[in-house]
Structures are given as C-alpha cells and as structure tokens.
Symmetry: C2
Subunit: 94 residues, 2 copies
Amino acid sequence: MLKVNEYFDGNVKSIGFDQNGEQSTVGVMAAGDYLFNTGAPERMTVIKGNLTIQLAGSSDWQSYDQGQSFEVPGNSSFSLKVSSPSAYLCEFLG
Amino acid sequence: MLKVNEYFDGNVKSIGFDQNGEQSTVGVMAAGDYLFNTGAPERMTVIKGNLTIQLAGSSDWQSYDQGQSFEVPGNSSFSLKVSSPSAYLCEFLG
C-alpha cells in the first residue's frame, strides 16, 4: 500500500501512494547525477532543496527550488544534477 | 544516508535526510489515527492530502491542507486523523 522503492544503489529512495486514484511518490535524492526514464507523464515538485534538470532533447539545464514544479512528457527521460540531498513529490499525470 | 523508517505496522513510512546540517524526513501516512511523540521540536508541512491534528494539551483539532504547516513543541506529542493517504515534510527544529 505504501511502497518503498530504491534506485541508483540507494541514492534515491521513494515512497509510492495512491490518493483518490492519483498515483504519486515522495522521495529523496542524495547528491549526484541521475537519469530517469518516464512511463506516464509526470509533474515533479521540489519539496526541499534544489533539482537542476535537463529534459530529453533539450540543451538547456533549468534549476528548480523548493515549491517549484516541472513536467516531464511520458515515454521520455530527464537528467538531474543534485548538489545536496533534496526531497521531491512526483505526481503521475497519465 | 537516506534512512527509511516504518511506523504503525507500515502504515506510516518516511525517508530521513540531512541537508546542510538540517535533519528532515519526507513521509506518507495511510488513512488512520496516529499518535506521535516528539524529541526535538518539529515543523510539519502537508505535501499532498490533509492532516487533522491535535497538539498535546489542546482540546482543538485543526486541519491542514497541501502547503500548510504546523509546529509541534519538543518532548511533546500530537494526534493525527488521516482520511486518505497523505504526504508530509517533517523538519526538526532542534
């Protein structure tokens, strides 16, 4: 019901939950560089810290602080640079 | 480094992290009634969903939605009523 997932040798951990049919996860990323693939489209919101991201096909890096959100298309990917442990909410929009 | 904790038979799960010396957790509570004790004072922020809480020594219940925060004194406790799975950020203020 609350599902814990680990990625990148435990440097990213998340807890998945379902609220009124909406699938979401909250998670934390340790400092590092990551590449995530998407299935469903998703909205990422920074809960604490900072995520600097590059969407697939883009040459730009954009920085998001606490309270800011970005969306990632489905069946795509995005790269992240994380300079200190940062928490996020991921809402699946599928 | 990212520490997963479980409480109340897995109905509450959290991920602890340290950001620039500030200890925090993000977590999810399944629907239910809970009582938490505090060590350090803490600030709780609702990330998604709703938390209805009663501080120790108070007769009032107060409801907090996404984006809203409340603080809990150290060496105290608070009761929660959670009607659907809800995510939170807990920042230790010690």
